[in-house]
């Protein structure tokens, strides 16, 4: 692959037909909520786009994100688009290792300074830089150095976007997200544990087509993919609205495909594209497989009070607190009552008169 090859040339060389290419453009357009009339423009832009240099840094992560991406049922056009970017540095995928790998990163940074896309997966430990290093360089130092020349940063997966599992209580490594460190670059958060493959290719496609970062929500996530909640697009929603819930994983309700809210579904508080784009080449998504949404694309999803506990229910032992409260209330009430009685009896004995002022209690 030559560096100057356009995307169109690269795709043709890899045997993608015109039809397949347009299909991808149409899918991209609809995913980005653009009208179909934009498809030719998208195709033209993608055709001519130069393969952007991409540097991918992996910090405190489990490689699930890159696994998700590479398992995007090849050979899909999405996969080929991914091949068609110039991935100049990625631990899990590159052949080079050690100083050769670091040299590749430095070369890519130099050659494309100010233009390359930096993708990060994994969180950054701040408690002790030694918790995670690459070629002796701490994650923090490598991120700061590499981000300097980036056109934009993509935080891939919930760990990079929000801290994810490493940041879960008690956060032993002092993990933070990319956005906690990098403040002067546009950051696109692509959370999910892992994120949906087509979402990352869609974000890259947007960058290629428009040369800009897509419209983001308050948490820095592309609106096109994270604009709607799982709950709003869930096919089980009619059951929620009718009040029909599965109580266990194998009861009548579960077999009939009723809503999983009672089983702890976080769909109502989770924004992601699962319910629309689905997983495994559009096969299904977790709720379709009978499991409640864990809320993996939201910050701190790991500490949300239990995956199998409904979001509206209390997390502390309320019945026990209630028994103590009633007990204490009864004791206090009886004591105060006795005091009031004594006061009354005294007033009666002393012939105290009630005046109109006694009845006016103000506010």
């Amino acid at each position: 692959m030559s560096k100057d090859e356009t995307l169109g040339e690269a795709l043709r060389r890899q045997g993608v037909t015109r039809r397949g290419f347009l299909k991808f453009c149409a899918a991209t357009a609809s995913m980005m909520a653009l009208p179909p009339s934009m498809v030719p423009a998208i195709a033209a832009a993608l055709e001519k786009a130069r393969r952007p240099s991409v540097i991918w840094l992996s910090f405190q992560e489990c490689t699930g994100c890159i696994e998700s991406l590479t398992r995007s049922h090849s050979p899909t056009v999405e996969g080929l688009i991914f091949d068609a970017i110039s991935l100049d540095y990625q631990h899990a995928l590159q052949a080079a290792a050690g100083s050769a790998a670091e040299a590749a990163r430095e070369t890519a940074m130099e050659e494309n300074y100010g233009k390359y896309i930096l993708i990060v997966d994994g969180s950054i430990p701040l408690a002790n830089p030694g918790y995670s290093t690459i070629a002796g360089i701490s994650n923090l130092a490598m991120l700061e150095e590499t981000a300097k020349g980036a056109a934009a940063v993509v935080s891939m997966g919930s760990c990079a976007a929000f801290g994810g599992i490493p940041k879960a209580k008690p956060n032993p490594t002092g993990a933070v997200s990319v956005g906690d460190i990098i403040k002067d670059k546009p950051i696109i958060n692509v959370p999910g544990c892992p994120p949906i493959p087509v979402v990352i290719t869609g974000v890259l496609a947007h960058f290629l087509i428009f040369g800009t970062i897509p419209e983001l929500d308050a948490l820095g996530r592309p609106m096109a993919y994270y604009g709607q909640s799982i709950h709003d697009r869930c096919y089980r929603r009619p059951f929620y609205d009718k009040g029909k819930f599965a109580n266990t994983f194998d009861d009548e309700g579960a077999k009939k495909g009723w809503c999983l809210y009672k089983l702890g579904c976080k769909g109502p508080t989770t924004y992601n594209a699962c319910a629309t784009t689905k997983w495994n080449d559009g096969t299904s998504f977790p709720i379709e497989a009978g499991h409640p949404c864990l809320g993996c694309s939201e910050p701190d999803f790991w500490d949300g009070g239990g995956f199998y506990k409904a979001i509206s229910t209390p997390t502390e032992d309320i019945p026990k607190a209630a028994i103590y409260a009633v007990g204490a209330g009864a004791a206090a009430g009886l004591a105060l009552g006795a005091l009031n009685r004594a006061k009354r009896d005294k007033a009666v004995a002393e012939h105290v008169k009630t005046t109109i002022d006694d009845l006016e209690k103000g506010d």
Binding site: S229, T269, G304, I311, S312, T313, T315, A325, A328
Partner: protein, 219 residues
């Protein structure tokens, strides 16, 4: 504190504290009244005090014709928002789930569309009640700070619940947290304000009815 942590705090310690203040306060205030007792009535009974008391609890719920004609607005809006609050509180699925979690009993829910419509009607009724309170010179004269406070803590859970269901304004996590927090505010103010009428109204009606019943008078 992140949004998730805030929601957890609201669902956890805050809810626990609110429950304790609510129950403790309610029990204290009821016992305070009951322990005071009454002087024994030495006259001969002409009828049943218990029957008279129970009758009054029911009959006082419905205004007489003359009263109704004079205060139709108060009667109708009052009934609407009270029924609305109970329907929303007791028949919305996520609420039932809370009761099931705490009391271990469950019952069928109403469709969310019905709850949604009920919420709008209830909010409108409560707004009408407030406007009436301010517009009517006598009502305004009689109103104290507490009357407005009680109105506010009553309507807040409805408004925040509506916003949470339709996801208006904040993130869904924050909306649920704010909604639960508004309910906790209601629970905490409850024992120390006129909201106590939810319990004491039965006691006072029974008291009145029992006196009349003992005398053999139809109250």
């Amino acid at each position: 504190m992140s949004e998730t942590e805030f929601l957890l705090w609201v669902r956890g310690p805050a809810f626990q504290v609110a429950t304790i203040i609510f129950l403790l306060g309610v029990v204290v205030r009821i016992l305070e009244i009951l322990v005071l007792g009454r002087k024994p009535d030495l006259a001969e009974a002409r009828g049943s005090a218990v029957a008279g008391g129970l009758r009054a609890i029911i009959s006082r719920s419905f205004a007489e014709r003359a009263t109704l004609q004079r205060t139709a607005f108060t009667e109708v809006t009052g009934w609407i928002f009270h029924i609305g609050i109970f329907v929303i509180l007791l028949l919305f699925a996520p609420h039932i789930l809370l009761f099931e979690e705490v009391f271990g009993v469950s019952w069928p829910a109403l469709p969310t569309t019905v709850i949604d419509a009920t919420t709008i009607v209830t909010i409108i009724a409560l707004l009408a009640v407030l406007i009436h309170r301010i517009a009517n010179p006598v009502m305004r004269f009689l109103s104290r700070f507490q009357d407005y406070l009680v109105w506010l803590v009553t309507i807040l859970p409805l408004v925040t619940g509506y916003m949470a269901f339709h996801r208006i304004g904040l993130t869904p996590t924050m909306l649920i947290a704010v909604h639960i927090l508004s309910v906790e505010l209601l629970m905490v103010t409850f024992p120390f304000t006129k909201l106590m009428h939810a319990f004491t109204l039965f006691m006072s009606r029974y008291y009145d009815g029992a006196i009349a019943g003992y005398k053999g008078v139809n109250s």
